[in-house]
Subunit: 354 residues, 2 copies
């Protein structure tokens, strides 16, 4: 493997000294880029892109040509695992992801197949290897998965949800079944991320998109406990290199202290969570990633610069902050506004690393 030329993202996750704050963006390979829309139009659906390693590689690299990002992230979806389990993932326009089959009963849960990531998700590992090769050590590659709880919400509901009533009813009324399902998912997520690491991922991130819909005690029992199980099963040392791990619960700003004790190197922050407050909560235990409101990129460039400066200032001095949005970039964003954000991080962050 080629030596890594820019390692400030990985170093920052491990709170090692760097000379500026690294920056990347959730959904940085995506519809806001005309070059992405071109490939997507030729390829067909979003899933057609995900399942084609060459195209997935191509779109993963696109944003690096435009912006000085310090990491690449695998172009894929958080729901590959339930799809590989046979639930039939599809996307209907404007409604988000859906599954043809749902998982709601004891029989459904017991019938979930034992999951071999190298079998059904070989296309993901192929994409990881290819991207890693084509990156040529420019920046590190992030692998990822949905969290066990978040996967379970989609599997039980059959898609996105507003109130999560089916999955929560299962959780309240059949907690043992829910635990059985989450245990199966935690093992699957760990196997999947380990396979991504083996294929070349240099950091891994777990997206807990819907943990923030739970009350505290349920968050700890049904979401965080299984993120911890995944973490414990991860192989985070490869040829003497540490593979840093990130965990992001959207809407989880109230539980950062608990999250910081689970073993992840870094926690993602949504934009509602004040990053100064977050740092005070987690102390030196973990790095933090975030957290500009993705909608703030609709602001004029001068305002975007101001927002970047405020977030850098709130985090303050020292390593441990990866600049990012607090959620994925929106599809109609002007790429020039992304440039304003990235440039501001490059320009105004070195003073915090003296």
């Amino acid at each position: 493997m080629t030596a890594l030329k820019n390692d400030i993202f990985l170093k920052t996750l491990l709170k090692q000294s760097v000379d500026r704050t690294p920056v990347w963006m959730m959904r940085q390979a995506g519809r806001y880029l005309p070059e992405y829309r071109k490939i997507r139009a030729e390829a067909g659906s979003f899933l057609d892109l995900c399942t084609n390693p060459e195209l997935a590689c191509e779109v993963t690299l696109q944003p690096l040509e435009r912006f000085d990002f310090d990491a690449a992230i695998l172009f894929s979806d958080i729901l590959t695992i339930p799809d590989a389990m046979g639930l039939g993932l599809y996307f209907s326009e404007g409604e988000g992801p859906k599954f043809k089959k749902t998982v709601r009963t004891k029989a459904d849960i017991e019938a979930l197949p034992v999951f071999d990531p190298l079998d059904k998700l070989a296309y993901v590992m192929d994409a990881v290897s290819l991207i890693r090769k084509n990156l040529q050590g420019r920046v590190p590659l992030i692998g990822f998965s949905g969290s066990p709880w978040t996967l379970a919400t989609y599997m039980v509901e059959g898609g996105s949800s507003k109130s999560f009533q089916k999955v929560k009813a299962l959780m309240y009324n059949e907690p043992l079944l829910m635990h059985q399902m989450l245990d199966k998912l935690a093992q699957s997520v760990a196997a999947y991320l380990n396979a991504q690491i083996a294929a070349g991922a240099q950091a891994v991130m777990i997206f807990d998109t819907w943990g923030g819909m739970l009350a505290t005690e349920e968050y700890l029992e049904f979401s965080l406990a299984y993120a911890r199980q995944v973490r414990e099963l991860l192989t985070t040392n490869v040829d003497g290199q540490t593979i840093p791990t990130l965990f992001f619960t959207k809407g989880g700003g109230l539980w950062l202290n608990e999250m910081s004790k689970v073993g992840f190197d870094a926690l993602g922050l949504d934009w509602q969570t004040d990053i100064g407050f977050a740092r005070a909560q987690v102390g030196d235990k973990v790095a933090l990633q975030g957290n500009m409101d993705p909608v703030a990129l609709y602001a004029q460039p001068e305002k975007i610069t101001e927002k970047v400066k405020l977030i850098l200032e709130k985090y303050g001095k020292g390593s441990g902050h990866v600049f990012n949005l607090g959620h994925g970039i929106l599809p109609d964003m002007n790429p020039e506004h992304v440039k304003a954000m990235v440039d501001a991080v490059h320009k105004y962050s070195p003073q915090y690393h003296l």
Copy 2:
């Protein structure tokens, strides 16, 4: 006016000693009740019900016949003010509230009419007076409005939103215009709530449904500052009686300390916020209202009882806790499950008031 027979809700908001925890429920008059669905089917639309004082009175009183609630809440909508300003509120099935006209430019904002609650919203005051009369002092009546920020989100977006990009773009790029609009709305909300108080409301609540979509600094500047302005303009002493005030930002659990200093008597809590943490944050400054997950009412009655006990225990000893859900009850809920919740509050709360 008839003397109030059950004042534990009002006393609790003022942190005066009571012998058990009061309980009511957001959207307690609503579709989960067959007797509501009957009236609604006869009346026509939701807005037909709201604008007819006799019917609004009838449905407001319905849940009190079934459950031992300690407060009634005016049957109305949070968006009556923009409707009265001429924006044309309507509801399309499954899509939530919408406006025929939007407010997006300087001209739109300047054209917003000076708002006289006794003119366009006389039907609300008639409903308040009629309900108060028909309650015959059984329990106090709560009046309410949407918060200035929340009203602004609907007025700019033209309805519900996922990303709030139009209203946030206005906020980022035209902050002075946004402040002008919010100032107008704060004056309107205060005039509206003062009119409800004059008509007989014995407590008033401000619903900031979308404040939680903001980053901290924007929350303080564009949501909380205008809630404070409303509070300062309220007439909260009527014939020697204090009219307690409540403020509820959904998704605002991270900002309770700031909220507790604004002058409200009580703060609403969503279900994600741990009520023990919340009490530690606000100290003795305010009472707290909440905060069972509305989806937890899908659990079996024994589980509901367990959830109620946990929330009571987390709040702990002493006055200052009004039991409620953390959001409105869902329309397909089984009323028997509501009964389990109310009964559990009645049964298990007295020990915290010894």
